[in-house]
Symmetry: none
DNA sequence: TAACTATGAATGAATG
DNA sequence: CATTCATTCATAGTTA
Protein backbone atom coordinates (compact mmCIF):
# COMPACT_ATOMS: atom_id res chain seq x y z
CA UNK A 1 0.00 0.00 0.00
CA UNK A 2 2.92 2.22 0.43
CA UNK A 3 3.31 4.68 -2.33
CA UNK A 4 6.98 4.17 -2.65
CA UNK A 5 6.86 1.47 -5.16
CA UNK A 6 6.10 3.02 -8.37
CA UNK A 7 8.53 2.61 -11.11
CA UNK A 8 7.16 4.02 -14.27
CA UNK A 9 10.54 4.92 -15.46
CA UNK A 10 13.85 4.29 -14.03
CA UNK A 11 17.22 5.75 -14.67
CA UNK A 12 18.13 9.07 -13.32
CA UNK A 13 17.28 10.96 -16.33
CA UNK A 14 14.46 11.34 -18.72
CA UNK A 15 11.11 9.94 -18.14
CA UNK A 16 8.32 8.43 -20.12
CA UNK A 17 10.23 8.85 -23.25
CA UNK A 18 10.58 5.31 -24.31
CA UNK A 19 7.47 4.93 -26.35
CA UNK A 20 8.38 2.58 -29.04
CA UNK A 21 5.85 -0.14 -29.21
CA UNK A 22 2.86 1.55 -27.76
CA UNK A 23 0.32 2.61 -30.26
CA UNK A 24 -1.18 5.51 -28.47
CA UNK A 25 1.07 8.30 -29.34
CA UNK A 26 -0.18 11.74 -28.69
CA UNK A 27 1.68 14.66 -29.97
CA UNK A 28 1.30 16.60 -26.83
CA UNK A 29 -0.86 14.33 -24.87
CA UNK A 30 -2.58 16.27 -22.22
CA UNK A 31 -1.85 13.54 -19.83
CA UNK A 32 -1.47 13.89 -16.21
CA UNK A 33 1.78 14.39 -14.52
CA UNK A 34 3.92 11.33 -14.22
CA UNK A 35 6.46 11.88 -11.53
CA UNK A 36 9.94 10.66 -12.06
CA UNK A 37 11.69 8.60 -9.49
CA UNK A 38 13.62 11.65 -8.49
CA UNK A 39 10.44 13.54 -7.99
CA UNK A 40 9.08 10.84 -5.79
CA UNK A 41 12.27 10.47 -3.90
CA UNK A 42 12.53 14.13 -3.09
CA UNK A 43 8.90 14.54 -2.30
CA UNK A 44 8.92 11.58 0.00
CA UNK A 45 12.02 12.87 1.63
CA UNK A 46 10.26 16.09 2.38
CA UNK A 47 7.09 14.46 3.49
CA UNK A 48 8.42 11.73 5.67
CA UNK A 49 11.87 12.72 6.74
CA UNK A 50 11.41 16.42 6.85
CA UNK A 51 7.92 16.34 8.09
CA UNK A 52 6.64 18.66 5.47
CA UNK A 53 2.96 18.04 5.32
CA UNK A 54 1.36 21.23 4.23
CA UNK A 55 3.82 23.44 2.46
CA UNK A 56 2.80 26.97 1.81
CA UNK A 57 2.39 28.44 -1.58
CA UNK A 58 5.88 29.78 -1.55
CA UNK A 59 7.29 26.51 -0.42
CA UNK A 60 5.46 24.65 -3.08
CA UNK A 61 6.83 27.01 -5.61
CA UNK A 62 10.31 26.45 -4.43
CA UNK A 63 9.90 22.74 -4.37
CA UNK A 64 8.42 22.80 -7.79
CA UNK A 65 11.21 24.89 -9.09
CA UNK A 66 13.75 22.43 -7.91
CA UNK A 67 11.87 19.45 -9.07
CA UNK A 68 11.68 20.90 -12.50
CA UNK A 69 15.24 19.98 -12.81
CA UNK A 70 14.31 16.38 -12.72
CA UNK A 71 11.54 16.49 -15.18
CA UNK A 72 8.49 18.39 -16.14
CA UNK A 73 6.38 19.37 -13.22
CA UNK A 74 3.95 22.08 -12.36
CA UNK A 75 2.86 23.86 -9.31
CA UNK A 76 -0.38 22.05 -9.05
CA UNK A 77 1.36 18.73 -9.30
CA UNK A 78 3.26 19.44 -6.16
CA UNK A 79 0.23 20.89 -4.52
CA UNK A 80 -1.93 17.90 -5.28
CA UNK A 81 0.80 15.54 -4.35
CA UNK A 82 0.87 16.82 -0.82
CA UNK A 83 -2.86 16.97 -0.61
CA UNK A 84 -3.13 13.40 -1.70
CA UNK A 85 -0.34 12.23 0.51
CA UNK A 86 -2.00 13.69 3.53
CA UNK A 87 -5.32 12.27 2.61
CA UNK A 88 -4.11 8.79 1.85
CA UNK A 89 -1.85 8.68 4.83
CA UNK A 90 -4.80 9.35 7.00
CA UNK A 91 -7.00 7.04 5.07
CA UNK A 92 -4.49 4.30 5.51
CA UNK A 93 -4.30 4.80 9.21
CA UNK A 94 -8.01 4.80 9.49
CA UNK A 95 -8.30 1.43 7.92
CA UNK A 96 -5.62 -0.01 10.07
CA UNK A 97 -7.30 1.34 13.09
CA UNK A 98 -10.58 -0.37 12.63
CA UNK A 99 -11.37 0.28 16.20
CA UNK A 100 -14.81 0.88 17.49
CA UNK A 101 -14.93 4.55 17.93
CA UNK A 102 -18.00 6.55 18.43
CA UNK A 103 -18.80 8.59 15.42
CA UNK A 104 -17.14 11.85 15.85
CA UNK A 105 -20.07 13.64 14.36
CA UNK A 106 -18.01 16.52 13.35
CA UNK A 107 -20.83 18.17 11.64
CA UNK A 108 -22.16 21.40 12.81
CA UNK A 109 -22.22 23.16 9.55
CA UNK A 110 -21.52 26.73 9.04
CA UNK A 111 -23.50 29.02 11.20
CA UNK A 112 -26.02 26.40 11.88
CA UNK A 113 -28.98 28.46 11.01
CA UNK A 114 -29.82 29.11 7.47
CA UNK A 115 -27.59 26.32 6.47
CA UNK A 116 -30.07 23.92 7.89
CA UNK A 117 -32.61 24.88 5.38
CA UNK A 118 -33.25 21.49 4.13
CA UNK A 119 -35.53 21.93 1.26
CA UNK A 120 -34.66 18.59 -0.07
CA UNK A 121 -37.72 16.71 -1.11
CA UNK A 122 -41.05 17.26 -2.65
CA UNK A 123 -39.55 19.17 -5.43
CA UNK A 124 -39.89 16.77 -8.22
CA UNK A 125 -42.67 18.74 -9.72
CA UNK A 126 -41.19 19.09 -13.10
CA UNK A 127 -44.24 20.53 -14.55
CA UNK A 128 -43.85 24.06 -15.56
CA UNK A 129 -40.66 26.00 -15.87
CA UNK A 130 -41.91 29.26 -14.55
CA UNK A 131 -38.69 30.83 -13.82
CA UNK A 132 -39.44 34.29 -12.51
CA UNK A 133 -41.52 33.11 -9.69
CA UNK A 134 -42.07 36.42 -8.15
CA UNK A 135 -42.10 38.48 -11.21
CA UNK A 136 -38.74 39.67 -10.15
CA UNK A 137 -35.63 37.88 -11.05
CA UNK A 138 -33.34 36.06 -8.83
CA UNK A 139 -31.58 39.26 -8.27
CA UNK A 140 -34.36 41.69 -8.49
CA UNK A 141 -34.03 43.92 -5.49
CA UNK A 142 -32.70 42.89 -2.24
CA UNK A 143 -31.25 44.59 0.68
CA UNK A 144 -27.85 43.56 1.73
CA UNK A 145 -28.65 42.81 5.26
CA UNK A 146 -25.31 41.57 6.26
CA UNK A 147 -23.41 41.70 3.12
CA UNK A 148 -20.09 42.70 4.40
CA UNK A 149 -18.76 42.18 0.99
CA UNK A 150 -19.81 45.57 0.01
CA UNK A 151 -22.61 44.81 -2.28
CA UNK A 152 -20.52 44.70 -5.37
CA UNK A 153 -22.66 47.06 -7.31
CA UNK A 154 -25.88 45.60 -6.34
CA UNK A 155 -29.20 46.65 -7.51
CA UNK A 156 -28.29 45.18 -10.79
CA UNK A 157 -31.27 43.16 -11.60
CA UNK A 158 -30.13 40.13 -13.35
CA UNK A 159 -32.59 38.58 -15.58
CA UNK A 160 -31.93 34.98 -15.23
CA UNK A 161 -34.13 33.53 -17.83
CA UNK A 162 -31.29 31.70 -19.29
CA UNK A 163 -31.86 28.11 -18.62
CA UNK A 164 -35.40 27.47 -19.45
CA UNK A 165 -34.78 25.60 -22.58
CA UNK A 166 -31.21 25.76 -23.48
CA UNK A 167 -30.58 22.68 -25.48
CA UNK A 168 -28.97 23.87 -28.60
CA UNK A 169 -25.57 24.38 -27.24
CA UNK A 170 -24.00 21.63 -25.29
CA UNK A 171 -21.59 23.93 -23.71
CA UNK A 172 -20.30 21.66 -21.07
CA UNK A 173 -20.11 24.43 -18.62
CA UNK A 174 -16.88 26.16 -18.31
CA UNK A 175 -14.82 23.12 -18.07
CA UNK A 176 -12.80 21.63 -20.79
CA UNK A 177 -10.27 19.14 -19.92
CA UNK B 1 -7.14 21.65 -14.85
CA UNK B 2 -10.50 21.93 -16.33
CA UNK B 3 -12.62 18.97 -15.72
CA UNK B 4 -15.64 18.08 -17.69
CA UNK B 5 -16.54 14.57 -17.02
CA UNK B 6 -17.11 15.16 -13.45
CA UNK B 7 -20.83 15.00 -13.13
CA UNK B 8 -22.05 11.68 -14.26
CA UNK B 9 -25.51 12.35 -13.13
CA UNK B 10 -28.03 13.91 -15.31
CA UNK B 11 -31.25 15.67 -14.72
CA UNK B 12 -32.90 12.73 -16.28
CA UNK B 13 -31.78 10.32 -13.71
CA UNK B 14 -29.16 8.35 -15.50
CA UNK B 15 -26.33 7.56 -13.28
CA UNK B 16 -22.78 6.75 -14.15
CA UNK B 17 -23.27 4.68 -17.20
CA UNK B 18 -19.77 3.81 -18.10
CA UNK B 19 -19.98 0.62 -16.17
CA UNK B 20 -16.44 -0.36 -16.77
CA UNK B 21 -15.03 0.12 -13.40
CA UNK B 22 -16.46 -1.69 -10.50
CA UNK B 23 -14.66 0.62 -8.19
CA UNK B 24 -17.75 2.59 -7.55
CA UNK B 25 -21.32 1.77 -7.25
CA UNK B 26 -23.28 3.66 -4.76
CA UNK B 27 -26.89 3.71 -4.07
CA UNK B 28 -28.67 6.88 -3.40
CA UNK B 29 -27.01 7.06 -0.07
CA UNK B 30 -24.94 9.80 -1.36
CA UNK B 31 -24.65 12.72 0.89
CA UNK B 32 -22.79 15.18 -1.16
CA UNK B 33 -24.56 17.36 -3.62
CA UNK B 34 -23.94 16.46 -7.19
CA UNK B 35 -24.77 19.40 -9.33
CA UNK B 36 -26.50 18.74 -12.55
CA UNK B 37 -25.28 20.24 -15.76
CA UNK B 38 -28.03 22.77 -15.51
CA UNK B 39 -26.96 23.71 -12.06
CA UNK B 40 -23.46 24.27 -13.23
CA UNK B 41 -24.51 26.13 -16.27
CA UNK B 42 -26.71 28.52 -14.38
CA UNK B 43 -24.28 29.05 -11.59
CA UNK B 44 -21.50 29.76 -14.00
CA UNK B 45 -23.72 32.13 -15.84
CA UNK B 46 -24.32 34.03 -12.67
CA UNK B 47 -20.75 33.97 -11.58
CA UNK B 48 -19.04 34.82 -14.78
CA UNK B 49 -21.50 36.54 -17.00
CA UNK B 50 -23.54 38.27 -14.40
CA UNK B 51 -20.69 39.00 -12.13
CA UNK B 52 -22.34 37.55 -9.10
CA UNK B 53 -19.56 36.75 -6.74
CA UNK B 54 -20.86 37.06 -3.25
CA UNK B 55 -24.60 36.72 -3.23
CA UNK B 56 -26.45 37.66 -0.12
CA UNK B 57 -28.56 35.32 1.87
CA UNK B 58 -31.64 36.35 0.04
CA UNK B 59 -29.96 36.00 -3.27
CA UNK B 60 -28.72 32.58 -2.45
CA UNK B 61 -32.15 31.56 -1.35
CA UNK B 62 -33.57 32.80 -4.58
CA UNK B 63 -30.96 31.11 -6.68
CA UNK B 64 -31.43 27.93 -4.76
CA UNK B 65 -35.13 28.08 -5.26
CA UNK B 66 -34.71 28.40 -8.96
CA UNK B 67 -32.11 25.72 -9.19
CA UNK B 68 -34.33 23.31 -7.42
CA UNK B 69 -36.26 23.00 -10.55
CA UNK B 70 -33.26 21.39 -12.13
CA UNK B 71 -32.47 18.95 -9.43
CA UNK B 72 -32.10 18.49 -5.76
CA UNK B 73 -30.18 21.29 -4.21
CA UNK B 74 -29.99 23.07 -0.91
CA UNK B 75 -29.08 26.43 0.36
CA UNK B 76 -25.71 25.41 1.57
CA UNK B 77 -24.87 23.92 -1.77
CA UNK B 78 -25.27 27.23 -3.44
CA UNK B 79 -23.49 28.97 -0.67
CA UNK B 80 -20.50 26.68 -0.79
CA UNK B 81 -20.43 26.78 -4.51
CA UNK B 82 -19.87 30.49 -4.50
CA UNK B 83 -17.39 30.30 -1.71
CA UNK B 84 -15.36 27.70 -3.51
CA UNK B 85 -15.68 29.43 -6.80
CA UNK B 86 -14.32 32.62 -5.37
CA UNK B 87 -11.51 30.88 -3.60
CA UNK B 88 -10.45 28.85 -6.59
CA UNK B 89 -10.77 31.66 -8.97
CA UNK B 90 -8.51 33.61 -6.80
CA UNK B 91 -6.18 30.74 -6.35
CA UNK B 92 -5.77 30.42 -10.03
CA UNK B 93 -5.42 34.09 -10.51
CA UNK B 94 -2.82 34.43 -7.88
CA UNK B 95 0.23 35.43 -9.67
CA UNK B 96 3.65 34.28 -8.92
CA UNK B 97 5.05 35.65 -5.76
CA UNK B 98 8.48 34.92 -6.92
CA UNK B 99 9.88 34.62 -10.32
CA UNK B 100 10.29 31.23 -11.71
CA UNK B 101 13.61 31.16 -13.34
CA UNK B 102 14.12 27.81 -14.75
CA UNK B 103 17.13 27.25 -16.87
CA UNK B 104 15.70 26.64 -20.23
CA UNK B 105 12.20 25.96 -21.19
CA UNK B 106 10.95 29.42 -20.57
CA UNK B 107 9.46 29.73 -23.95
CA UNK B 108 7.75 32.93 -23.20
CA UNK B 109 5.24 31.70 -20.80
CA UNK B 110 5.24 34.18 -18.03
CA UNK B 111 2.64 34.86 -15.50
CA UNK B 112 -0.66 33.19 -15.56
CA UNK B 113 -2.35 31.56 -12.71
CA UNK B 114 -0.33 29.77 -10.22
CA UNK B 115 -2.10 26.58 -10.92
CA UNK B 116 -1.75 27.05 -14.59
CA UNK B 117 1.96 27.04 -14.58
CA UNK B 118 2.22 24.57 -17.30
CA UNK B 119 5.72 23.51 -17.83
CA UNK B 120 6.19 24.66 -21.32
CA UNK B 121 9.37 22.79 -21.40
CA UNK B 122 9.64 19.74 -23.48
CA UNK B 123 13.01 18.39 -22.98
CA UNK B 124 14.72 16.51 -20.32
CA UNK B 125 17.63 18.53 -19.28
CA UNK B 126 18.78 16.41 -16.51
CA UNK B 127 22.36 17.11 -16.94
CA UNK B 128 23.56 19.27 -14.19
CA UNK B 129 22.29 18.79 -10.72
CA UNK B 130 22.52 22.22 -9.33
CA UNK B 131 21.54 21.25 -5.90
CA UNK B 132 22.17 18.24 -3.76
CA UNK B 133 20.06 15.46 -4.96
CA UNK B 134 19.99 14.02 -1.55
CA UNK B 135 17.22 16.36 -0.81
CA UNK B 136 18.52 17.40 2.52
CA UNK B 137 17.86 20.96 1.76
CA UNK B 138 14.55 21.62 0.31
CA UNK B 139 13.37 22.77 3.63
CA UNK B 140 16.50 22.60 5.58
CA UNK B 141 19.27 25.12 5.42
CA UNK B 142 21.66 24.68 2.64
CA UNK B 143 23.48 27.86 3.26
CA UNK B 144 26.62 25.90 3.59
CA UNK B 145 26.94 25.14 0.00
CA UNK B 146 30.18 25.78 -1.67
CA UNK B 147 28.53 27.59 -4.43
CA UNK B 148 30.47 30.69 -3.88
CA UNK B 149 31.34 30.97 -7.49
CA UNK B 150 27.78 31.30 -8.48
CA UNK B 151 28.56 30.65 -12.05
CA UNK B 152 25.49 31.34 -14.07
CA UNK B 153 26.94 31.62 -17.42
CA UNK B 154 24.15 30.23 -19.46
CA UNK B 155 21.42 31.24 -17.17
CA UNK B 156 21.06 27.81 -15.81
CA UNK B 157 21.39 28.53 -12.20
CA UNK B 158 19.07 27.62 -9.52
CA UNK B 159 19.84 29.25 -6.30
CA UNK B 160 17.83 27.31 -3.91
CA UNK B 161 18.12 28.16 -0.34
CA UNK B 162 14.74 27.06 0.66
CA UNK B 163 13.99 28.30 4.05
CA UNK B 164 10.89 28.03 6.05
CA UNK B 165 10.74 31.71 6.45
CA UNK B 166 8.81 32.82 3.52
CA UNK B 167 7.04 36.07 4.12
CA UNK B 168 5.93 38.70 1.81
CA UNK B 169 2.48 37.53 1.19
CA UNK B 170 0.78 40.71 0.27
CA UNK B 171 -1.41 39.31 -2.36
CA UNK B 172 -4.63 40.18 -0.75
CA UNK B 173 -6.38 42.01 -3.45
CA UNK B 174 -8.75 40.87 -6.05
CA UNK B 175 -11.88 42.36 -4.76
CA UNK B 176 -14.99 41.04 -6.27
CA UNK B 177 -16.30 44.15 -7.79
C1' DT C 1 -8.67 -6.73 -23.82
C1' DA C 2 -10.92 -6.35 -19.34
C1' DA C 3 -10.26 -5.93 -14.61
C1' DC C 4 -7.55 -4.10 -11.07
C1' DT C 5 -4.59 -0.95 -8.54
C1' DA C 6 -2.16 3.13 -7.46
C1' DT C 7 -2.45 7.76 -7.73
C1' DG C 8 -3.12 12.36 -10.15
C1' DA C 9 -6.81 15.62 -10.26
C1' DA C 10 -11.26 17.86 -9.21
C1' DT C 11 -14.51 19.69 -6.12
C1' DG C 12 -18.15 19.72 -2.39
C1' DA C 13 -17.83 20.51 2.35
C1' DA C 14 -15.65 21.90 6.54
C1' DT C 15 -12.51 24.30 9.65
C1' DG C 16 -10.17 28.36 11.75
C1' DC D 1 -11.71 34.40 3.22
C1' DA D 2 -7.61 31.12 3.32
C1' DT D 3 -6.65 26.24 4.00
C1' DT D 4 -7.58 21.79 4.51
C1' DC D 5 -10.29 17.57 4.52
C1' DA D 6 -13.04 13.98 2.38
C1' DT D 7 -14.82 11.73 -1.43
C1' DT D 8 -14.94 10.86 -5.98
C1' DC D 9 -13.52 10.71 -10.84
C1' DA D 10 -9.96 9.74 -14.28
C1' DT D 11 -6.18 7.30 -15.99
C1' DA D 12 -1.16 5.23 -16.38
C1' DG D 13 0.57 0.89 -15.70
C1' DT D 14 0.15 -3.71 -14.44
C1' DT D 15 -1.91 -8.18 -14.29
C1' DA D 16 -4.68 -12.16 -15.65
Amino acid sequence: MEPQNRHPNEDGGSNQAAGSSASMLHRESRTRWIPTTDHIRILNELFYNKGVRSPTIEQIQRICLQLKWYGRIEFKNVYFWFVNQRAREKQKKKKLTSDVQVPKQRSGLVGGSIMEQRGEDHQEIKTLPLFPIHGEDIFGHMKTTSDGGGGHGDGSYISLELSLSCEGKAEKSFRSR
